[in-house]
């Protein structure tokens, strides 16, 4: 059957009529985006304006003029020079440094402990596996605040008073006021020891790089770990001895109410650090376990088949693949730890929230500004941590073939 269909207009095919600008998707999208941005700007402006007007009408002070005014209060532990003649701005930094200190150390300890416990849960040793399980189940299921109170009020507060301090080896003392350690006092010549230490680290890095290249080229391995340890510790140790031990110690001693001299670690700091690290470690352990369990069994079998030892299998095959699974949730745990450090005020540690969002807010009365800055600070800490972890993740991510 043939049918002839007459095309109505045999003329040249007209190019499809350009649709009206309004109907073009790209144009519409752009318009919507612009409208959204304008709406957001107006929204924020309206809020800011409303706040300013409200504060002015209620006669509540506003602005950041307080930043350079004298704070007038003291902070028990600071990393920067601070006394009651310093400004509110300086109090901001002092508090921030305290938060970064406890969060930074907390992240390091939580990671180490979390990896150990996580690997422990997978151990074929029954006792270790059960202990690790018990650790995880107990610590991650109790509220953090409760755990902080436990460490602070139940453990550290039961230590004896300064006059009945527990003496620790090496001239350190422990009492309810904290841990007092001898403070190292460098004498002339100590610079050489430090220099030797630096040289040790640099040569170790160089050796590690060289050995890696050699291994790639020839397959020969070199005992990098032992050489590095020797270089980093024995070299400065030898210099130290040769120069006649140029390092003195200032020992803490009881004078008046408290121990004076030496280095003091506050119980508030210890309780917060221990509480944050052990709590977060329980979550990290689970993440590590999930990460390792997530590597297909075939990988391990293949590694064994080509003759890698168990340790090398773990290090070269399992962990690198597990890290891909571990790092994103690990990042969340780091963020949690940093934010949870704001529970510090409950146990008297002068963290950022206690100093700035507490005392400074109270003395200046400028809740809006102070809370705004507080949000900015935590946002910045979180974004920087995520950015770093993303970079790290990309850096170590396996290149899949």
């Amino acid at each position: 059957m043939t049918a002839t269909v007459q095309s109505p207009s045999p003329g040249p095919i007209a190019p499809p009529a350009k649709p009206n600008l309004l109907y073009r998707p790209e144009f519409r999208q752009a318009v919507y985006q612009i409208l959204l941005v304008i709406a957001l700007i107006i929204g924020f402006w309206a809020i800011a304006h409303n706040v300013a007007v409200n504060l002015a009408r209620q006669n509540i002070a506003s602005g950041f003029g307080f930043w350079t005014r004298t704070a007038g209060f003291d902070i028990s532990q600071t990393l920067i020079e601070f006394d009651n003649q310093s400004t509110y701005g300086k109090a901001f930094w002092a508090g921030l440094m305290n938060t970064l200190l406890v969060a930074g150390l907390g992240i390091i300890f939580a990671t180490i402990l979390g990896f150990l416990v996580g690997i422990g849960r997978l151990s074929s040793n029954w006792l270790i596996a059960k202990l690790a399980t018990a650790y995880v189940e107990i610590l991650r299921n109790l509220p953090l605040l409760l755990q902080l109170f436990f460490w602070y009020f139940a453990v550290l507060k039961n230590l004896p008073g300064p006059r009945e301090s527990i003496s620790l080896p090496g001239g350190a003392s422990l009492n309810v006021r904290g841990l007092y350690l001898p403070a190292p006092v460098p004498e002339s010549g100590f610079g050489y020891v430090l220099a030797a230490f630096g040289i040790g680290i640099l040569t170790s890095i160089a050796i590690a790089m060289w050995s890696k290249r050699r291994q790639l080229a020839t397959g020969q391995r070199f005992p990098v770990l032992w050489t590095s340890l020797a270089l980093i510790f024995l070299l400065p140790g030898a210099v130290y001895l040769v120069l006649g031990q140029p390092l003195g110690f200032e020992y803490p001693a009881l004078r008046g109410f408290n121990f004076q001299g030496g280095m003091a670690v506050q119980p508030e700091f210890m309780a917060l650090l221990v509480g944050l690290s052990t709590y977060t470690a329980s979550f990290i352990a689970e993440i590590v376990r999930a990460g390792i369990a997530g590597v297909p069994r075939g990988q391990r079998e293949a590694a064994n088949a080509i003759g890698l030892s168990n340790g090398l299998t773990m290090r070269l095959v399992i962990i690198p693949q597990a890290l891909r699974i571990i790092i994103p949730p690990l990042t969340s745990q780091y963020l949690n730890l940093a934010k949870n450090s704001s529970l510090a005020v409950a146990i008297g540690y002068p963290d950022f929230v206690s100093v700035f969002t507490g005392t400074v807010l109270n003395q200046t009365g400028q809740a809006v500004e102070v809370i705004l800055l507080t949000m900015l600070v935590f946002l910045t800490i979180s974004l920087l941590t995520s950015a770093f972890m993303n970079w790290f993740n990309k850096h170590i991510a396996l290149v899949e073939r």
């Binding site: 409200n54 902070i75 009020f153 409950a346 008297g348 809006v368």
Partner: protein, 339 residues
């Protein structure tokens, strides 16, 4: 964390509150609601604490009741809102409470930058220092090198720093958010000294395991005039709260008590008659019923009665009237007359 969150919520409330609100007539809102929303301490014996039956009791609590009696004619129509040192002002600014009665010190900074006004001083206090008797310290001047526990959000942090600096004494502050935490830390020996308002120290001492083992040193290191505060910009409400305080004082001065107030209605003394609303229209003048002061005294008592029952000789805390006596008895409490 929890209280930071609450503070955050209150701050947000301050932000988004609409223009009509701050200057709105608090009196009308209280009457409409039928209850007074009164900010008090979360728990400080003598000033504001729930008793074993869950009823709020204390000096500040009675001030809340007195205001309710004057405004609503019923001292029980109060909603008590416990506030911590840190969040109390925000609670007032945001409108969550109508008046703040929380052992709060009147200072220029608070009067000028927080958008609130203090109506007067209902308790003259000062900051004290408490130590364990075992330390054998007799004076604050011997406290060089001491560790001091102090509460955040109070005037006391600043006074402490000033006092130790002026007297060239070294010290270490340990700052907590809640009085309970200080109490525990101080008793465990974390601090040598617990410092706060002297009234607070006496009250807190009763909560300790061995109250006799702690003494309050003789030095009073600051002036802490405590009093009620209200939001700025509502002068009618300010006047009412202020005159409730004055009515309590005037009643004591005129010898009108909870017990004799009914009989006093028949008194011929013009002062008494004016206070009780038998003469003049003084209640109307401040927007209240004419028997406003009668209701206060009938339902709550006069200033002296409140003081004695909550913090004074009739209470466990047993603080002497001292500066809080009437001016006629050598104290500082003085009220303008009702006439």
């Amino acid at each position: 964390m929890k209280s930071t969150t609450k503070l955050f919520a209150l701050t947000t409330a301050v932000l988004v509150s609409t223009a009509s609100f701050a200057s709105a007539q608090t009196l009308d809102r209280v009457k409409q609601r039928g209850t007074l929303s009164c900010g008090v301490n979360v728990g400080l014996a003598g000033f504001s604490a729930p008793d074993d039956k869950g009823n709020w009791t204390g000096f500040d609590v009675d001030y809340c009741r007195a205001i309710a009696a004057a405004v609503l004619g019923d001292a029980t129509k109060v909603r008590f809102v416990p506030t911590t040192a840190k969040e109390r002002f925000t609670a007032l600014q945001s409108g969550e409470i109508d008046v703040l009665n929380r052992n709060t010190t009147w200072t220029l900074a608070r009067d000028s930058s927080l958008g609130l006004s203090f109506v007067g001083t209902n308790y003259y206090d000062g900051q004290g220092l408490m130590v364990k008797t075992g330390l054998k310290v007799k004076s604050a001047k011997e406290l060089d090198g001491a560790t001091v526990c102090v509460q955040t959000g109070t005037t006391t942090e600043l006074n402490l720093a000033d006092y130790f600096r002026v007297n060239k004494l070294a010290y270490k502050p340990v700052v907590f958010e809640k009085a309970d935490e200080i109490l525990q830390a101080y008793q465990a020996g974390r601090c040598d000294v617990y410092t706060t308002d002297a009234s607070g120290l006496y009250a807190q001492r009763l909560q300790m395991q061995k109250p006799d083992e702690h003494i309050v040193l003789p030095e009073i290191i600051s002036k802490e005039p405590l009093g009620p505060s209200v939001r700025q910009g509502d002068s009618q409400w300010f006047t009412i709260v202020r005159w409730v305080h004055f009515a309590l004082l005037n009643a004591e001065e005129a010898g009108i008590t909870k017990g004799n107030v009914d009989k006093m209605l028949e008194s011929t003394n013009p002062d008494v008659r004016r206070i009780l609303g038998k003469e003049g229209e003084f209640g109307k003048g401040i927007g209240l019923a004419n028997d406003w002061a009668f209701q206060i005294i009938k339902q709550v008592g006069n200033y002296g009665e409140i003081f004695d029952a909550t913090v004074g000789a009739g209470s466990r805390i047993n603080i002497a009237r001292g500066q809080n006596n009437l001016w006629t008895k050598g104290g500082l409490q003085y009220a303008p007359p009702i006439r």
